[in-house]
Symmetry: C2
Subunit: 162 residues, 2 copies
Amino acid sequence: MGLREPLREVAECGLPHALEVMGERWSFLILRAAFNGLIHFEEFSSELGIARNILSNRLAKLVEHGVLVRERCEGDKRKVEYRLTEKGVGLLPAMLSLRQWGEKYGTNVNPDLILVDARDGEPIAPITINSHDGRQLGWHDLAWREAGSQEWCCHDTPAAGS
Amino acid sequence: MGLREPLREVAECGLPHALEVMGERWSFLILRAAFNGLIHFEEFSSELGIARNILSNRLAKLVEHGVLVRERCEGDKRKVEYRLTEKGVGLLPAMLSLRQWGEKYGTNVNPDLILVDARDGEPIAPITINSHDGRQLGWHDLAWREAGSQEWCCHDTPAAGS
DNA sequence: CGCAACCAGTTGTTATTTGCAACTGTATTG
DNA sequence: CAATACAGTTGCAAATAACAACTGGTTGCG
């Protein structure tokens, strides 16, 4: 099996952090709502049908982790605005990839709305893994390399690097 | 705000299905482990440190949803093998995108292992959203189009299509 | 063969999360 | 100034997760 990624020890990859922020129920649906332009508590509440205390908790957590910013609404100080930060917007590829996966493999998912390029109205491409020079990569084209090293090792075959 | 995606009514996008399959705690970490070549119950158990009943439950659910297949191990019939299906492998872009996000924005995430192209040992590119003809797209380059229609509408500006 | 260890779970119990409904405190509208 | 809207909070019931111990088939070994 060659070099295998240590899974819970040191050398933590980014996935645990991502899941700490986004791994709870509703987090991704709140994010989707935010990408669709919702900004107020009552909007999230009525569109998502989530319990108010949970919504409150999730919004606070997303703010705490820097995915959303919370600010009082100018012009109506009852309202609060939750807006995506740059960090939040950075989740768009992950969310769309999940969504494309759900549309491809889910049963009875036939979207009435298609996400398109605003410039020409053509559907966006499936999200893929690519090499530094643009070749499309699959699972078995990937390998691990230690941070300082020049050697690498195939994902699940004995050796490839040195 | 123009055309807005209905969020919980009809026209469900693929995200709810994806979250139904992968949205529970541990599901993504189990998937990561599977991508790293783990196949046996005891391997998942010891590498992830997850409670055995939860692991049992999650594996069953992932099998039920077609992400993994469960088969008895030839040669040692005590063991069971959980292997990724094509549907499971289809989650790799989403998982890597989440992971890249975690590595970019997470504090104290400095991976010792870098995911590289097995062919040349170069790190893979960041996962991006692309148009059908390969241009890289951001949030504000996206729009919604109704399934049958030729019209489209900018994501959060009044109009663009007709 | 017989016994100990191994593997993949299950069962029972306790802690943590979630969901629901009602309530609170400002701000705004009429 | 009263009624309503907004963004929460509080208290409680239900569901989910974590922990530990146990079960029931293999399998390796003497």
